[in-house]
Symmetry: C2
């Protein structure tokens, strides 16, 4: 056994324990009895303390120091890269600070929920200020003199900086605001009407999950308040939700999570429980969920098939033909909430958060000015005022739990999806004919072979370039949206 073998054997156990912690998280959102929350907190803390101790074990540092990276093949070098990144990241943050952040954000999440309920930003501001103070401290420890926000981005999107995103999003924003304005001058398409039986929604959502290649032999679908995907390798579970008035909520949540889950399920078996056996970044993950959900799932061809499925399941729901259904699925309308936004407006919500959180981390924006800054920016991009904090600065949980640098990966994922879609369409010219039959096999197979199977073998940007054959940029996404919505809205 070489030092590298020893390191990999040690890391294998750490990876397996990480999966266990993930399974606990899934249980918490789906199965856990409501009275078990406090005990679960202790159980999760115990798992985290074990994981932290393993990630920062002095032995790992010694192995890392003694291994000659140049003697490794590409797979070995990638594994070493991932283990080193995890070790250095975990070692840089003092244990006391990590524990304080865990404790404070756990409380802050509850305070945020109360403040949102009460529509009272002032009640949340001091808590948020404390979280931000701690996260800036953590960011400074991680940055080692560099940019704090860039150091935070490394947790979610290694290799991408705030400046990269600023350039990318700067090019995206004018095109999106312009497209949005043009669309909203047109008459709104008709939406669905009636009530949609929950059991029938869940049944069709399972049909959709299978249609997109989700393997229920290595996964399962449950209901949860917030849809998510959880786990890697051979146990990747998703959740969905239902709304009796709005079946698209269930169907497109399912397809979105199936995109995340298929990425994990389709990683090369050789990488199982290794540092390469997970999706490589939040942005690349989101590119998969988004291309499944939007470029495939909300395409004219696929919605034509889905229309027939829905007619079979629900009878008449107020939409007369496939074209009207396509317009209903892709309807653009005014709204305040990011998670409910359509393809055109979604990124405007994210770009707003990116600019604000970057300013918060840089110390250029104070918590006391955040609500006003949010409302001003919203009015500029959307053309109307935020009516209450729960529709504005209090709508998302992220900042309360210390997630800074996470929001931009949503839009980065959309940008990546745009690039991948362009390459996919070129590689599979008759894709629409297949989608019109509810067949996604060639599309999802192309994504599996060109991207998903690699897991964390390549860096995020690298794997997108490899798969799409281009340097990732916003033009393909913009072109796709302009083309799609010009057609739907007759712009």
């Amino acid at each position: 056994m070489t030092a590298f073998d020893d390191l990999l054997a040690y890391d294998h156990t750490t990876q397996a324990l990480g999966q266990v912690a993930g399974r606990l998280g899934w249980d918490q959102e789906t199965m856990m009895p409501r009275g078990a929350a406090a005990q679960r907190g202790e159980e999760m803390a115990a798992m985290e303390s074990v994981l932290h101790a393993r990630r920062t074990a002095p032995q790992v540092g010694e192995w890392l120091a003694s291994i000659d990276a140049d003697a490794l093949d590409a797979v070995g070098a990638a594994k070493l890269r991932e283990i080193r990144r995890s070790y250095e990241r975990a070692s840089k943050v003092p244990a006391d600070l990590a524990a304080t952040i865990a404790r404070v954000t756990s409380t802050a999440q509850g305070k945020w929920a109360e403040a949102r309920q009460a529509d009272d930003y002032a009640a949340f501001a001091p808590v948020l200020a404390e979280v931000i103070g701690l996260k800036r401290e953590e960011g400074a420890a991680l940055a080692s003199g560099g940019d704090i926000y860039d150091a935070m981005l490394e947790d979610y999107e290694p290799g991408t900086t705030g400046a990269d995103l600023e350039a990318m999003f700067g090019a995206l924003r004018p095109g999106l605001t312009e497209l949005r304005a043009a669309i909203l001058e047109k008459p709104a398409p008709k939406g669905v009407t009636g009530q949609f039986d929950e059991a029938a929604q869940l049944e069709l959502s399972t049909v959709l999950a299978k249609a997109f290649g989700y393997d229920l032999g290595h996964g399962r679908i449950d209901k949860a308040v917030h849809p998510f995907s959880s786990g890697s390798g051979n146990d990747v579970r998703i959740t969905t939700r239902t709304n009796p008035d709005d079946p698209f909520n269930c169907f497109y949540s399912t397809i979105h999570e199936v995109g995340h889950a298929c990425y994990e399920q389709n990683i090369d078996d050789a990488f199982l429980l290794s540092p390469l056996g997970r999706g490589v970044s939040m942005g690349v993950h989101e590119s998969q969920s988004r291309i499944y959900e939007n470029q495939l799932g909300r395409s004219r061809a696929f919605t034509g098939w889905l229309y027939g499925q829905m007619r079979d399941a629900f009878g008449d729901f107020g939409i007369g033909d496939e074209d009207a259904f396509y317009a209903a699925v892709n309807r653009v309308s005014n709204g305040y909430i990011r998670t409910e936004a359509d393809e055109v407006q979604y990124n405007l919500h994210v770009l707003l958060r990116f600019d604000l959180e970057r300013a918060l981390m840089a110390g250029d924006l104070h918590v006391s000015d955040l609500e006003a800054a949010w409302n001003d920016r919203f009015e500029v991009d959307f053309g109307y005022a935020v009516d209450k904090p729960s529709n504005g600065v209090l709508q998302d949980v992220h900042w309360s739990v210390g997630l800074f640098g996470y929001f931009p990966t949503y839009s980065l994922g959309n940008v990546y999806a745009g690039c991948l879609n362009e390459a996919l369409r070129a590689a599979v010219p008759d894709l629409d004919a297949q989608l019109a039959q509810g067949e996604t096999g060639q599309a999802t197979g192309w994504l599996r072979d060109n991207l998903q199977q690699h897991g964390s073998l390549y860096a995020p940007r690298e794997v997108i370039e490899l798969a799409s054959g281009q340097t990732p940029g916003p033009s393909p996404l913009l072109a796709y949206l302009q083309d799609k919505f010009t057609h739907i809205y007759d712009l």
Copy 2:
């Protein structure tokens, strides 16, 4: 912080991790996708390696050596006792041997299942011989020169020896065989007829669980192939199963598991995630499941109430009145299978296994002679021959997975339940009037206050003596059975 405080803090994390491992086990039997088994094996092995390392950590040995037990109060001394037992137990078995046992028994379980399916003891014998060889080696390491079987019993029933059980069971066996023979000379009561809807069975089983005090705010009920209870403290889950022909399978499995679960749920909150926060032994655990299931659940009074519930749920099922229902619930009939046996015959099945496994461990019985020894003993106690190995020596999984010393705790639990029932009946004279209304609150409250709340504070025998006011012995169980079945069968 004293050394004792440090030890308790360390142990708290270990206890929490033990709960996590238990939760994974629950998931495996209820929720896990079928294709995730191999990965789950890796995840469980990772958890076990972490738990083993913590239980045998040199630091724990140092703390144990430096703590003055005489300076502790009763609760502290009990915690120290439990941690010391766990440390010494884990430290005595060489890691290599423990790993070999884990590997071999994992394979042996599969071989057992195949052999049972094929009714071929010869195919299983060599595997069993290997398991027994390893377990004797482990037993010798644990026994430190003492009796191997006694050392194994310590894992399940600390403080009870093979000689204790031999004396207890020796006094039980003649009374049981005699009672059995007398009953089987009488005409058999009528059983239920018809098909019982699964959803209605599960609904009524939830009513029963609540009636026995199971707290669904800190637990949940799911279906599984084998009913079990899992977890401690505020997250104690049970499973049940259904059989369309036999609703009693579901109802009494549920009540049985509720007995186990209530024991865990009712332990003093102050002991949560401490070494005292779990049931103290398998025998005491089984005393709770059995007294819920049998002395309460199969009593004339409670079955009278259940009869009404079942009539409401299922209409006519071929039983005309409460007395006939009571006889049907308690029907004694010939059979080969322990898990399907009635109250009278169940312990005869267990006593057989106890004598055989003790002889196996002592080296007095060889694996090649086991099948014949089983069949001979069965014919003596039951009066007819075993027809095939799956109805005899191959029926239980226990030995294949290395569980030696586990079987007798089933009967010990019944003996304990007999003692507890005697004391309970004296303490709550009008118990039957309550049970006849489906009210178990005074009975389960008495068990909670006198036994369950103590968790592992007292040694097993000690807590039974404390609660029942007597030295545990078989007489109360025998007297209860003789009285009950004399009445039902008009002996």
